[in-house]
């Protein structure tokens, strides 16, 4: 028997079952799937073991038959970006994985800036055993006055718990799949472009010659066949790990603990915290520097968190118009 349920509590953000932000233990059930739906799956991208090979980018494009483009997303054009080895530039309609390359150097604060023969400098070397043993992953020690480190990180759609793109999609083209992922339905999207502005990570984008928007589907079709997404399948060093989200979270916590133990103070998880502005990510990361260094927002918040307040304001503003109009009409002298 069908019953008409009211959407209004959700509208206020106060419906315990349809919250617009905050942790959601079962985002899939939230989207109307039965109890026996598959576990929510996700990506854990451990950038401390990324070797920047871009296999993820190519495997993704091969599976999803995406067009080639340059670092600005211009389709069927290529050119050197000058951003280290990153010629993909960004996530977009044509690139659903993007490997960022960040070159960093810092001067070693100790004396002896140049290489020379031993004994030339009585104060000895900049390097000592302790300094050498506590390097970060992705830190090469280069044996002179400068330390170089080259960070690499494969970015992807975050498949947010509270996905702005999904929330604002007016056609239902973007939907939550039974795996808890966020997917665009190509037969529905009419290219309104709202999702593009709603994504706090700048992930989804419109392919201009096609008119529709595109982004990572976490290989929805492969998931239905019991396969891993193409990128995680290809990743040579398991920097991209795919699996049940809770399992990945446990693995990530353990990895972080290990790195911290090894003295890698710069390691941190990104998108792991369910109390963050998007209720945690389905695709989260272990980073070795601040998120913005990788082109990620440091504290993203799903825009719909504030939607109840906005609707309230819009309602008040509409009443204001009616009030002003009424005052204007009724306060004016009647024409003769």
């Amino acid at each position: 028997m069908t019953s008409i349920s009211s959407a209004s509590p959700a509208f206020t953000g106060k419906d315990p079952h349809n919250r617009l932000f905050g942790p959601l233990p079962d985002v899939t059930a939230e989207a109307g799937y039965d109890e026996d739906h598959p576990a929510r799956v996700g990506f854990f991208t451990d950038t401390s073991v990324c070797i920047g090979c871009k296999a993820c980018e190519v495997a993704c494009k091969e599976w999803n038959t995406l067009p080639m483009d340059d670092s600005h997303g211009t389709r069927d054009v290529i050119g050197l970006s000058g951003m280290s080895y990153d010629n993909t530039g960004q996530l977009g309609a044509n690139s659903w994985r993007h490997v960022a390359f960040i070159e960093q150097v810092r001067t070693v604060d100790l004396p002896m800036p140049t290489v020379g023969r031993p004994g030339d400098d009585p104060r000895g070397s900049v390097l000592n055993a302790e300094a050498l043993t506590e390097f970060d992953p992705q830190t090469g020690q280069s044996g002179t006055d400068k330390q170089v480190r080259w960070l690499m990180s494969s970015d992807v759609c975050k498949h947010c718990t509270h996905a702005g793109c999904l929330d604002v999609c007016p056609t239902g083209a973007l939907f939550r799949s039974e795996f808890g992922t966020v997917v665009v339905q190509g037969d529905i999207c009419n290219g309104c472009g709202y999702c593009v502005s709603a994504c706090p990570y700048g992930v989804i984008n419109r392919r201009e010659d096609d008119g529709r928007v595109f982004k990572c589907t976490m290989c929805y079709d492969r998931l239905t066949d019991g396969l891993m997404p193409a990128c995680a399948t290809a990743c040579p060093t398991q920097s991209i790990q795919f699996g049940d989200l809770d399992e990945l979270q446990a693995r990530a916590d353990a990895r972080l603990a290990t790195l911290k133990e090894q003295g890698v103070e710069t390691a941190r998880l990104y998108g792991r915290d369910e109390d963050d502005g998007v209720g945690g990510n389905g695709a989260f990361f272990l980073l070795l520097d601040e998120p913005e260094v990788y082109g990620l927002p440091p504290d993203p918040v799903v825009t719909t968190r504030d939607l109840p307040a906005m609707w309230k304001a819009a309602g008040k503003a509409a009443l204001m118009i009616v009030g002003v109009a009424a005052t204007a009409v009724f306060g004016s002298r009647r024409p003769r």
Binding site: A10, E30, A31, Y33, C53, Q185, I188, Y220
Partner: protein
């Protein structure tokens, strides 16, 4: 009218042909707003929003006619590949997780293997450039093989040596210096074997391979 066209765009096909109560029901079910109002997905974020295309999604790994066991042709790690074939066309190439060496993983080049073998810029017809010619010409494969055979015999003859070396150090060599060959290191062992065998039988010795480089 709106709903009808929408129903065609994304709804389920209407088996009852419309008009009957069942037909209306099916047609209503196909309208996500109805599913929103009546189902567990009032906000239309998940189950209610699923399209006909989504319900029909199937992985092309699942529809393949067969899967061939192969090996990546790029570097020498020797990553195992699974080659999916459907209607005699390659639909996907990916790593074979059973491989003890690669564990199913591929680098960007290996991941681009499908593009390598299905590339539209692959040359699939014999091309021929005549001496002093300024254009490529077409040539039949059989004709090309016959022409090459002619030229091999002629070059072999022109470059034949019974003996070689300065007078004080002259030895039988039984070979031709007229034909040389350079192979890539993506040749199969079987191919290399036939090449070396045939060239040696012809007396050709300047047989080289990328392995030198």
């Amino acid at each position: 009218m709106i709903c009808r066209s929408e129903g065609r765009a994304f709804g389920q096909p209407d088996p009852a042909g419309g008009g009957s109560i069942d037909g209306v029901k099916t047609w209503l079910d196909a309208w996500p707003v109805f599913r929103q109002l009546t189902g567990p997905d009032p906000l239309g974020r998940g189950r209610a929003a699923r399209s006909r295309g989504t319900e029909a999604v199937v992985s092309r790994t699942a529809t393949a006619d067969r899967v061939a066991a192969s090996v990546c042709p790029y570097c020498a790690v020797g990553c195992a590949q699974k080659v999916y074939v459907e209607n005699e066309r390659i639909t996907q190439i990916e790593g074979d997780p059973d491989s003890p060496i690669s564990r199913g993983r591929l680098c960007p080049k290996g991941s681009a293997s499908k593009q390598l073998v299905t590339s539209p810029t692959r040359v699939t017809k014999v091309r021929y450039r005549r001496p002093y010619g300024t254009e490529w010409e077409d040539l039949d494969l059989d004709t090309a093989m016959e022409m090459i055979a002619d030229r091999v015999l002629e070059a072999r003859r022109k470059g034949w040596q019974e003996v070689d070396g300065p007078p004080e150090n002259r030895h039988r060599v039984n070979r031709t210096m007229g034909v040389a060959s350079l192979g890539g290191a993506t040749l199969d062992n079987e191919e290399n074997y036939l090449m070396k065998k045939l060239y040696s039988a012809l007396g050709a010795i300047q047989i080289e391979n990328q392995a030198r480089i």
